[in-house]
Amino acid sequence: MRRKGPQVDTSVSWLGRLAASPTAADWQRLVDAYGPLLAAWAGRAGVPAADRDDLVQEVLVVVVRRVGEFEHRGPGAFRAWLRCIVANHVRALFRARRVAAWVDLDQLGRDDTTLARAWDREHDEYLAARAVRLVQGDFAPATWLAFHRQVVGGRSAGEAAAEAGLSLNAAILAKSRVLKRLQAELCGLVE
């Protein structure tokens, strides 16, 4: 069903490489995966458009410089670490400008606040949406359709099988395999 052989590069090992000896591809992945999200976050916090990219760049540079110090304490740890870096940079920016941020940056820096949870949620959904886009090409269209109908559309395996023109068994396998691939892609990055 899969068109390509498994080439799963778990995100945890990617984080490890980023810390140890990042290649250009690892760095690119960081920029691709997090750049738009960080820019959106910065926008929400009130960072003017002119400064967002500088801020994103600063945050990513810090991630690269300090990822060695980052200890992977389970799912979501990277996300929380990133959120704190963003909060700190945004705070520094607004302090320097002597203007107020649009959000409570102290809340953003703590894990147990409504704001932090909302942003974590967005982080996860963003990465999930991105992972879905990334892996879709690895699966045959019928497989993908069967997976999508079940997981996103909330259909039963039987309905998905009928819609995709697959056997029931193939529809079950489709869901199982795509989810497995997505888990590998998202491993350690989302909760």
């Binding site: 500088d54 540079v61 649009w102 959904e125 999930a128 996103v152 039963s156 989810l179 497995k180 888990q183």
Partner: protein
């Protein structure tokens, strides 16, 4: 615990399997078992376990493509959400024609866009609505093509759209309407492109067929543009009269390169890479493209251009069948289209060859087609446009006037150029005011008036608040009911003689300048105004920040006639905004940005960080960015292999370890031109004069110089190149701001301009270092 193939898996094992959570060694046996056990298939199908990933995917799947669109969860905590602001516009228009009413006002995201101010709608097509907009910063007019949301709905479509537009932005040709950028605001994607005031050939041909020579000229222009794009690896796939636009000077430009491949509205089949390919427009599509859309090549564009030419000549499309399917069939199988009456034999032959069913029988390149068309373009100017609907006698007079190039010519000499206003229309009155500073033009027939400011080179229609900047090279033609009544031209003075022994390359070509302007100590707003007010042909080549000044102050140097930059280079000063993403490793965007200058300016906290950027795009340059100095030597070696030459080095943003040797930096690269260059890093301030003296002794000159770090720890990066013209140059450092300004004035008198300016240190201790280079080659 591996499972025997005959054993039914437990509920929990089955659940984990369904959710993709079993490792391969336990998952495989379950998979094998399921294949032969309908009972367990039914169990698995019935199991709908709650799972965080599934819930997350379900939530993500209902959002926008990037997962960043508005959500209740974010709004609920009261954060302003700019992403939600355009939903009124995009909502409900995922496919099919846009609902009525949408076209009356620009999308909200554009109205509030910091860079572009929509002026009016120019038209709408299959891809979406096109708006005339003003680029806020420079007052430049651009066309914004807002892409219909449904067209970019496929996964990855947005990225592809951007990539392709960025690639197309490198096309720079007089017969191509240049794409500048792909941008996005509030989920609305749009293409920013050159605004060509004029009408499409479709509009033109709707009024009647064109004279053979005029049609051939239009097709020739288009073929030249298409040939340029083919050489760059682009196939247009959708050449047709509505994609060809007549510019003010009568020449024709091709629109929409880089877009046709994107029109995945479901009309075309997908190619194996998963990318949708456009079918083309049925009236103009090549037979091979009609059969297999991905088979389109350069010769398919030639066929489409042939159909376009046929349309211009005949006033109708080649196969005016009823349905698209019949049209496609006719392109493939029908005989040649009905002959056009009264066509010169030469034109008919060129047309027939362009319309050959077999690609091998056509012209093989658009350049060949252009040359063939060029031979059909006589008679000249008089028939450039179809003769207007006048009496025969008047037409004769018109032609005579054009042939004799008579008419009244008014001339205003400015210090750097000559402005001429030509008219052969008795109803046009031209009045010089204030010694030629202002030229008032009045059309007695239409009562329309224009004011021409010959200092600002700007034409303002009477009573209007909008004004037009006179184009630098092409004449501006004013028409009445389609007929040219007035032509305004700018003629730069003849360039001073430049010693050209062989082809000028690299810095020598850059130095072939005739003049330069400079601004000192201007704040960002002032800098923007200064840039906007520069005469055409001037481009900034150096921008330096005076550190520790509030508000930030800049020194800028603009140079005229820098020959190694194309005349059409697009300039942007980026402060409140910037074009496209340019993250550290976004090489693609950087490549497009091309000639870039960055400067530092302080935040209140004293740390200096790059904040203002000037980009001059010319498409052919590259930027390498964000690598530590330790890697630099390796990279230099690789650039050399890749025949790229570093031309400018700058420090990256954001490294808190200011002045530390591992501070990442970036380099601008230009084509090598076979120039033997030397690049040295980590030159200490003490070594620099020695290196420079050594270069001078060896007949070389500096080409790129930048300070890395600050204060006594700073080092320099230096590249030197041959100095074939023996240009004079001089290095100075440790200048205070006042001393720098005084020196600049003195150097200008000596016809030297700064090639590189570096500011060193911060605050009151800031010093400048400058490399002065002669800009008029020594005789």
């Amino acid at each position: 615990m591996p499972l025997a193939a005959t054993e039914h898996p437990t509920d929990s094992t089955l659940t984990e399997f369904v959710l993709g959570k079993l490792p391969d060694e336990t998952g495989r046996p379950v998979e094998r078992h399921l294949a032969g056990c309908p009972t367990c298939q039914a169990r698995a199908a019935a199991a709908r376990p709650a799972d965080t990933l599934v819930a997350l995917l379900a939530a993500a799947g209902t959002r926008g493509e990037d997962g960043l669109s508005a959500t209740a969860s974010v709004s609920a905590v009261g954060t302003p959400d700019e992403f939600a602001s355009t939903q009124n516009w995009t909502g409900g228009a995922s496919d099919g024609p846009a609902p009525a009413g949408e076209d009356d006002s620009p999308p909200a995201a554009l109205v509030s866009h910091p860079r572009y101010r929509p002026v009016r709608q120019l038209g709408r097509g299959g891809m979406g609505v096109v708006w005339l907009a003003e680029y806020a910063m420079m007052g430049r007019r651009v066309a914004l093509k807002v892409i219909r949301p449904g067209l970019l709905a496929r996964p990855g479509a947005v990225e592809r759209f951007r990539r392709e537009v960025h690639a197309a932005a490198q096309l720079n040709h007089p017969h191509i309407a240049t794409a500048y950028d792909a941008d996005e605001a509030g989920g609305v994607h749009f293409l920013v492109m050159e605004y060509v005031p004029g009408e499409t050939l479709l509009a033109e041909v709707r009024r009647g067929p064109l004279a053979p020579a005029a049609a051939c000229r239009a097709a020739r222009d288009a073929a030249r543009g298409v040939a340029h794009a083919h050489a760059a690896g682009f196939v247009h796939r959708d050449v047709k009269p509505s994609n060809l636009i007549r510019a003010a000077d009568g020449s024709v430009k091709v629109l929409d390169f880089g877009l046709a491949g994107r029109a995945d509205a479901g009309s075309g089949p997908d190619d194996p890479s998963g990318r949708a390919v456009v079918m083309g427009t049925p009236d103009y599509v090549a037979p091979e493209q009609a059969t297999d859309a991905s088979a389109a090549d350069a010769r398919s564009d030639i066929y489409s251009l042939g159909c376009t030419l046929y349309h211009l000549l005949a006033g109708r499309v080649p196969y005016p069948a009823a349905s698209a399917a019949e049209k496609l069939g006719a392109h493939r199988a029908a005989a040649a289209p009905a002959p056009v009456a009264g066509l010169p034999a030469g034109v008919a032959a060129v047309l027939a060859r362009m319309l050959a069913k077999n690609p091998a029988d056509r012209y093989q390149t658009a350049g060949e087609a252009a040359d063939a068309l060029d031979n059909c373009c006589d008679p000249p100017e008089a028939a450039r446009r179809r003769l207007p609907r006048r009496s025969a006698a008047a037409a004769g007079l018109f032609a005579a006037a054009a042939v004799l190039a008579l008419g009244v010519v008014y001339k205003v000499e400015r210090d750097r150029e000559v402005v001429t206003v030509e008219t052969d229309d008795p109803d046009i009155e031209v009045v010089m005011k204030r010694n030629g500073d202002l030229v008032r033009i009045v059309d007695a027939k239409t009562k329309q008036a224009w004011d021409l400011d010959t200092h600002k080179m700007r034409l303002t229609p009477g009573g209007g608040e909008l004004s037009i900047d006179l184009p630098g090279r092409e004449p501006l033609v004013i028409r009445r009911a389609g007929d040219a009544t007035l032509t305004i031209r700018r003629t730069p003075p003849a360039a001073p003689a430049v010693v050209t022994t062989g082809v000028p390359v690299g810095p020598a070509a850059l130095l072939a300048v005739t003049d330069f302007r400079e601004a000192h100590g201007v704040n960002p707003a002032g800098l923007r105004r200064w840039l906007a007010g520069l005469p055409p042909g001037f481009r900034p080549v150096e921008l330096t920040a005076r550190v520790a000044a509030l508000p930030p102050l800049f020194d800028a140097v603009a140079v005229r006639d820098a020959r190694d930059l194309p005349a059409e280079a697009h300039l942007e000063l980026v402060n409140a905004d910037r074009p496209g993403p340019y993250h550290l490793t976004d090489f693609h965007a950087m490549a497009k940005a091309g000639w870039a200058l960055r400067a530092s300016c302080p935040y209140d906290d004293g740390a200096d960080r790059p904040r203002h950027h000037v980009w001059v795009r010319d498409g052919g340059r590259w930027v390498a960015n964000g690598f530590p100095q330790a890697e630099a030597q390796d990279r230099v070696a690789r650039w050399r292999q890749d025949q790229l030459r570093p031309t400018k080095l700058y420090l990256n943003a954001a490294d808190p370890g200011r002045g530390k040797p591992d501070r990442p930096f970036g380099v601008l690269l230009a084509d090598d031109d076979g120039l033997p260059w030397e690049f040295t890093l980590e030159v200490s301030p003490a070594e620099l004069p020695v290196k420079l003296a050594d270069a001078r002794a060896r007949g070389r000159m500096p080409d790129c110089l930048a300070a890395v770090g600050a204060g006594p720890d700073r080092t320099y990066a230096l590249s030197v190149v041959p100095n074939p013209h023996g240009l004079a140059w001089e290095w100075q450092s440790g200048l205070t701001a006042a001393a720098y300004e005084a020196t600049l004035a003195a150097q200008k008198t000596a016809r030297r301009r700064p090639l590189a300016v570096a500011s060193e240190g911060a605050g009151a201790a800031a010093r400048y270092a400058a490399l002065w280079v002669e800009y008029s080659p020594a005789k």
